[in-house]
Amino acid sequence: MTEVLTKIIVNCEDGTQTVVPLTEAEIQQREADALAYAEQKAIQEAEEAAKATAKASAEAKLAALGLTADEIAALK
């Protein structure tokens, strides 16, 4: 049996709380949200990986120029 996904509606005026199934429109929106999140996450991770690679390359070049590890760390 497919799990029924739910959300809670809280009425802040009278305190009532109701658990309701997601509507078809809400499910479609959530699927779109998840897809957008995955795409953005992939872009962010690629950018972070590229930045880490560039940083490692820069540190290696600084070391080759004669900077000590402490001197390289002081630049961060």
Partner: protein, 181 residues
Amino acid sequence: MANETMTLISTQSMSGTTGVDFTSIPQTYTDLVLVISARSNQTGTSFGAINFWVNSNRSGYTERFLRGTGSAVTSYTDSSASNWALDSILPAASSTSNTFSNVQICFPNYTSSTTKSVSMDGVSENNATAAYQSIGAGIWTGTSAITSISLEVGTYPNTWATGSIASLYGILKGSGGASVS
């Protein structure tokens, strides 16, 4: 002179659901603060996102974050536009057991007829190098007063883990006091 007050409007356990809508928010406060302690049941990852929006409106949102990852600092802009999102702030199944996010979101001047701003900060607890801390600011281009706030686990079809709670507070500005020149 009256002191500023912070009053609990509603606190809600979210366990087992995908989201929560705080509706019919009283319009008698100056600002709103949403405090979230949550975790998701998402498997295969250590962290996920918390999405949130207002007035059932799914357009007009922008935000920018400064985020620490445990080993680096990054700055990024969320371009989803359909909601605000706190990325990587929600511990999931692969993160340290029984650890929860600690998130606070402030909605200043929420009853105004101008565009709405939010400030948000949060941490995702994890006993490992990878543990995220984020501070961010966002804008919603809508000009209506905020009457409802919705939040969801950012990765459908996952649900909030047992023990996840969201609490909505109203801040009322004080009055009186002397101006000092």
